[in-house]
Symmetry: C2
Subunit: 402 residues, 2 copies
C-alpha cells in the first residue's frame, strides 16, 4: 500500500467493496462497487480511442446528465469488441447493481478492464454483484482498489482533507494501470470521490484540469486503452456552500485537493508501469511552444532507447537528443542542456565529460529518476511521468494471455 493513503481513505457518505466473482482464474478480487448513500454530482472523462468498450459508451452517455449514485467495475475482461452482446452485458450489470442498491440503473456507471474480446460470465457477475452490495462498507475503498487491478503489482489509493470555506471536505481516489498507458484526455481507470457540494459543470472542469495535469501526463508504453475512464463523484455530504465555479469560496482549495489526489495516483501509475524498476520524471524547458515542449517530453518518455538505457543505468544523453530531434522539435544545440538526476551531462552543445557521466550513472540507480532537458529555443515547458523498460515488461506482455 502507498505510504500516503493514511489521511482519509474514508469519504463520508460513500461505501465501497471488492470481491472475487470468478472472472480471474487466480482467485484475486475482480469486482468492485463504490456507492453513495445519496445522489452525487458526477463528472467523467473517457478514452479518445476510436475503438471503445461497451462500458465506456454506456457510462459516457449516463454521466452527461451530471448525476450518479454508484460505480461498478470489473477487472479481467474488458467487454470490448463484443458487439450487441457487450452492450447488453454492460446494461445488465448496472441493472443488477441498481436493484441491490435501490436506485435507478441510469444512476449506476460501469467500467471494465482486462482482456479484449471475451464474453463476460454473466451468472458469476450476478452473484458477485449481490455479494458486493452486502459487503459495502465505509472503509471498503482499499478493497475496491484491489479488485480493479489487472497487471498492477499493488493497489493505488490517495486521499486528502481540505478546508472549503469553513467546511472540511474529504477527497479520496483509486486508480489502476499499468499497460496501454498514454491517455490523452482521460486515463486508465480512476475513481475519485469527495463529500463536497459541487455543481456538475464545475465538477467537470475540476476533473478535466486535474486529469490534464496528472493522468494525461503519464506514459508507460505510448498506448491508449479502449477502456480509459476517470470519474469524479461529489455527494455534498460535507455541507459546504455549493461550489458553482472557480469564483466560489474555497473552490481553489477544492480543485487543488482533487489535483493532488490525481497527481499522486498518476505518479503511482507510472512507478508501477509494467516491469518498471523506477519512476522517471521528464521535464522539458526552453521549447518554442507548449506543444513542442510536450512533444519532446512525450518522445523522451516513450523512447525505447531512453527507457532501456534508464533500466541499464546508462547516462545516455545521445539517445535523449536523438529522440527529441527525431520528433522534429526545434532546439538550439549550443544552448541545449541535459541533466540526469541533477547532473548536467550535456551542455553548450557537447558532452560534459566522463566525470559528470559517472556521477549521473551512480544516481540512475535510485527509484526516482529525473531527466531535465533545456532546448534553448524558447520559454515553454512540459512534464511527463514514465518508467523504465525492463526484461519484465517483455515477460509480462509476451506471456499475458489473450
Amino acid at each position: 500500500m502507498s505510504r500516503r493513503t493514511r489521511p482519509a481513505a474514508l469519504v463520508p457518505g460513500f461505501r465501497a467493496a471488492g470481491v472475487h466473482c470468478g472472472i480471474k482464474k487466480s482467485g484475486a478480487p475482480d469486482l468492485a462497487l463504490i456507492a453513495s448513500d445519496a445522489p452525487c454530482a458526477a463528472a467523467g472523462l473517457f478514452t479518445r480511442s476510436s475503438v471503445v468498450g461497451a462500458p465506456v459508451e454506456l457510462s459516457r452517455r449516463r454521466v452527461r446528465g451530471g448525476r450518479a449514485r454508484a460505480v461498478l467495475v470489473n477487472s479481467g475482461i474488458s467487454n470490448v469488441a463484443m458487439g450487441e452482446r457487450g452492450r447488453r452485458s454492460a446494461e445488465q450489470m448496472t441493472a443488477w447493481a441498481a436493484e441491490s442498491l435501490g436506485c435507478r440503473p441510469t444512476e449506476v456507471l460501469v467500467a471494465s478492464t482486462g482482456v479484449i474480446g471475451q464474453p463476460l460470465p454473466m451468472a458469476k457477475l450476478r452473484r458477485g454483484i449481490h455479494a458486493l452490495a452486502d459487503a459495502l462498507r465505509p472503509e471498503g475503498l482499499p478493497d475496491a482498489a484491489r479488485a480493479i487491478m489487472t497487471t498492477d503489482t499493488h493497489p493505488k489509493l490517495a486521499a486528502r482533507r481540505v478546508r472549503v470555506g469553513d467546511t472540511t471536505v474529504h477527497v479520496a481516489g483509486i486508480a489502476k494501470g499499468v499497460g496501454m498507458i498514454e491517455p490523452r484526455m482521460a486515463t486508465l481507470l480512476a475513481f475519485v470521490l469527495c463529500d463536497a457540494a459541487v455543481a456538475p459543470p464545475f465538477l467537470r472542469r475540476v476533473l478535466r484540469q486535474a486529469a490534464d495535469a496528472s493522468f494525461n501526463r503519464v506514459s508507460v508504453d505510448g498506448e491508449q486503452s479502449t477502456s480509459d475512464t476517470a470519474l469524479l463523484l461529489a455527494n455534498g455530504r460535507a455541507g459546504n456552500h455549493l461550489l458553482r465555479g472557480p469564483g466560489s469560496r474555497g473552490a481553489g482549495a477544492f480543485a487543488a485537493a482533487v489535483g493532488e489526489v490525481c497527481e499522486e495516483l498518476a505518479r503511482m501509475l507510472a512507478r508501477d508501469g509494467e516491469g518498471a524498476t523506477k519512476l522517471v520524471t521528464v521535464r522539458v524547458g526552453g521549447a518554442r511552444s507548449p506543444s513542442e515542449a510536450e512533444r519532446a517530453a512525450r518522445r523522451i518518455a516513450n523512447s525505447l532507447l531512453v527507457k532501456t538505457a534508464l533500466f541499464g543505468r546508462d547516462p545516455n544523453w545521445g539517445r535523449i537528443l536523438q529522440t527529441v530531434g527525431a520528433g522534429g522539435v526545434r532546439l538550439r544545440l549550443p544552448r541545449t542542456r541535459i541533466a540526469l538526476c541533477g547532473v548536467a551531462v550535456f551542455k553548450d552543445g557537447t558532452s560534459a565529460g566522463p566525470a559528470a557521466r559517472r556521477r549521473a550513472a551512480a544516481r540512475l540507480g535510485a527509484p526516482d529518476v529525473d531527466i531535465e532537458v533545456h532546448l534553448g529555443a524558447g520559454r515553454s515547458e512540459a512534464r511527463i511521468w514514465t518508467c523504465d523498460l525492463s526484461y519484465d515488461y517483455v515477460r509480462i506482455n509476451a506471456e499475458y494471455t489473450t
Copy 2:
C-alpha cells in the same frame, strides 16, 4: 550472409573495402570505403531529424551537385553533437580519402554511425583510410557491408542485374540497421551502386521512390537516427543511353531494379532489428485515406504490446485493435477483419473463436509473420515491415554503452 546476394555483388567500375582501424574495441571492421574509377552521378537522402551529425551536414551539401566519386563510412562513433570539432573531423576524413584516391575532397561523401557524443580517433582514421585505399577491390562490397555494422548481427547486401534498353546494368547495395529505425525520408545507412548512365535529377527521383517504398516502410523502434543516410551512385560504365527521366528507354526496368535492391535490404533490416526473432509484415487495407492506412500500419508496427505478443506467439487481435483505435484511425468495427499469417482471428466485429486463435498461434512461430488488417472504412492501403520485441532488445539496449 544473405542467400540472395549471389547474382552480382560486383558492379563494374566500383571497388570497395572494409578494415578495422581501431574505433571498435572488439577488433571488428569499423571503416569502409566505396570508390568509383570514374566520377558518378549521385543522389542522397538524409535523416529529417532536427539533430543531425556533421557527416550528414557535409554529405548533404556535397551531394546536392549530383556528382560524387567515393563514400567513406565509419562505424562505432557517429560524430554527432561534437560541434566545430565534429565538422573539422568529417572534412578531414574526406580529405584523406581524396588524397589516397587522387580525387577532390568534394567528390567524397561521408557517413558515421555509432555512439553519439564521442570524438573520432583521427590518427587511427588516417592510418585506416590509407589501408583502405590499398585494400580496395572489385569484389570488396561484402567487406564494406561488414565494416558499417553496429548492433547488426550480419552484413546486408542485395544485388540485381537488369536490361536497360540493350544494355545489362548491375545494381548492388549494402545497408546497416538496426536500432533507431523508423526513417521517414531516408534511412539508417544504405549505399546502392550501379553502372548505369543516369542523369542526376532522375537518379534522385529513382532513389526517393525506392526509399519511400522500402527503407521508409521499416520500423524497428519508432526512432529516427541523427545519421540516417541513403546514397545511390551511378558510374555510367555500362554504356547505356543516358537515362534522363521516366520516359527514357529502360528507365522503368532500372528503377524497378533499384527498388528491388532497396526492398531486399529493408526487409533484411527489419528481420535483423535489435533482438528480433521474426520479420513482421503489416498490411492495412480498407482505410479512409493513404495517410490513415500508413498511420494504422505504423501504430501496429511500433506497438510494444503487439510486438511483445508476437514474440510470445500470442494471436492477440485485441492489442492490434486498440493501437489502431488509439491512433484515432477511423474504422467500421462490424466490417473490420484481422488475419494473422492468413488466419482470420477477428471478423464481423468480433472474435473468430478459439479454433482460429489456435491455428494462428501455431503459425506465429514462423520466422516470417504477416498481420493483415482491413478497416472496412475505405479503399486505401499501406505496408510496413517490422520485427518483434524480445528480451534481447532490452539486453542490447540496456547494456550497449554510451
